[in-house]
């Protein structure tokens, strides 16, 4: 069963499903319309990453893949934040700061939450979860 088949056939329930799709926008282009309630577009503040993110936003909008939220990840300063906000000025943008805890977790093959549950990036993503829960009434 492919990701597309599975995601479009999950029964309605209170369960929160977090689907980490393949890198790029391939799965998104094949996902049947209206398969998900929310699309999170993760971008680094780099031109290539922003470019892929803009294409993802376009496809998710056209195919009605729910509410679209952009996550500006690895943001180091105000310039980074401004660059992402300018590229996605029609959408909600949530800022996740660059954080050595995430790099350390990657190296260990561990979850950032287990390395430091109070790390700035972890707190920002926890805030994103609260925001999504509020906006969708979950």
């Amino acid at each position: 069963m492919s990701a597309e088949q599975l995601l479009s056939s999950v029964p309605e329930s209170d369960t929160v499903i977090v689907a980490d799709l393949e890198a790029g926008i391939g799965t998104l282009t094949r996902l049947p319309e209206g398969s998900v309630d929310t699309t999170l577009v993760i971008v680094e503040p780099t031109p290539r990453s922003i470019d892929v993110g803009q294409r993802a936003v376009l496809v998710a909008s056209e195919r009605q893949q729910g509410r679209i939220t952009v996550v500006a990840n690895k943001v180091a300063d105000g310039d980074d934040e401004a660059r992402v906000r300018a590229a996605f000025n029609d959408h909600d943008v949530v800022i996740v700061p660059v954080d050595p805890v995430v790099t350390a977790a990657d190296r260990k093959g561990a979850s950032p939450m287990d390395v430091d549950p109070e790390a700035p990036a972890v707190n920002a993503i926890a805030g994103l979860a609260s925001l999504l829960a509020e906006t969708t009434g979950t």
């Binding site: 890198a23 799965t27 398969s35």
Partner: protein, 103 residues
């Protein structure tokens, strides 16, 4: 709520997905992490470790083989091909990627 997480390779989408899933679980939600990436590492970001992440990968082929015998339901997939991650997140992998993008 079904959430699709997308982005360029290297953007950190798997780290965000893992922390997001556990954050929902810690606030009392029933959560499933679905690893659809061609390079599946969501297990690591959720904190299940190397060995369990590898074991899940080996199950992907099994899903395909078994599907020849009977069609899977969502619950089958979660029960038979998933694992328990910290904070009560259930993690499973999706096997077949039809046209993976290189990046």
């Amino acid at each position: 709520m079904k959430i699709a997480v997308v982005g360029k390779g290297g953007s950190g989408k798997t780290s965000v997905s893992g922390v997001l899933a556990r954050s929902f679980a810690r606030s009392g939600h029933n959560v499933v992490g679905l690893d659809c990436d061609t390079n599946p590492n969501l297990g690591l970001s959720l904190g299940v470790g190397d060995l369990e992440t590898e074991r899940l990968l080996s199950l992907r082929d099994q899903i395909d083989e078994d599907e020849q015998k009977h069609a899977h339901t969502w619950d089958d997939i979660l029960d038979a091909y998933g694992t328990d991650a910290p904070d009560g997140v259930r993690l499973t992998v999706v096997n077949r990627i039809d046209n993976p993008e290189p990046d």
